[in-house]
Symmetry: C2
Subunit: 100 residues, 2 copies
C-alpha cells in the first residue's frame, strides 16, 4: 500500500499509468512521451512494477508493459473509502457532521 502511493508521487509515473489505460505499450513507446532519458524511464517503470501497478511481459527483445488496475484500485479507493469518500459526487454542501 505504501509503495503504491510512493509510486504515484511522481508525475511521470502517474502519466505512464494514464498512457497504459488504453492498452499495453512497450518501454520505448512509453518513453517517447517524456523528455527524460530512457534509463530514467526504466527506473520509473521499475518502481511502478515493484509497487504492483504495472506488469512487464518480455516479448522477444521488447518489453510490453500493461496496467494492473486492481492494485491501483485497491490501494487508492481503499484509502479514499477510509476517508469517507466512496466516489459518489460530493458537492459543497455539508450533509453530515453538523458544525453547531
Amino acid at each position: 500500500m505504501h509503495d503504491v502511493f510512493d509510486a504515484l508521487s511522481h508525475p511521470i509515473r502517474r502519466q505512464v499509468l494514464e498512457l497504459l489505460k488504453s492498452g499495453g505499450k512497450t518501454a520505448g513507446e512509453l518513453a517517447d512521451n517524456f523528455l527524460v532519458s530512457k534509463p530514467t524511464m526504466s527506473g520509473h517503470f521499475a518502481k511502478l512494477k515493484s509497487a504492483g501497478l504495472i506488469l512487464g511481459e518480455n516479448r522477444g527483445g521488447t518489453i510490453v508493459y500493461t496496467l494492473n488496475m486492481s492494485t491501483l484500485e485497491e490501494a487508492v479507493m481503499g484509502f479514499m473509502g477510509r476517508m469517507g469518500i466512496s466516489g459518489e459526487a460530493q458537492g459543497d454542501d455539508v450533509s453530515e457532521g453538523e458544525v453547531a
Copy 2:
C-alpha cells in the same frame, strides 16, 4: 495536484488525514498518535498544509488542524476518474472496453 500526491506518499501523513476525518485536532493531539518527535510531526503538518490538504487555525497558543476534504477529493478522484475508475464497486468483470 502534484503536491497532493507528494503529501500522500508518506504513511504518517495519510494517517493524519484519517485522524482528522472525525474532526479538528490540535498539533499535539495528532502528534501523540505517532512515535516520531513533535518537530518531525510539525514538518508533516507543514507539508499537508502546503498541499492544501489541511487548514491550521491558531486558537490561542494551540493550533487546530482540520481536514480540507475538497482538495483531497479533487486531486485523487480526478486522477482516478482519468484512469477510468469513478468509485463504483468494480469487480473482476469487464463491463466496458471489451478486449476482443
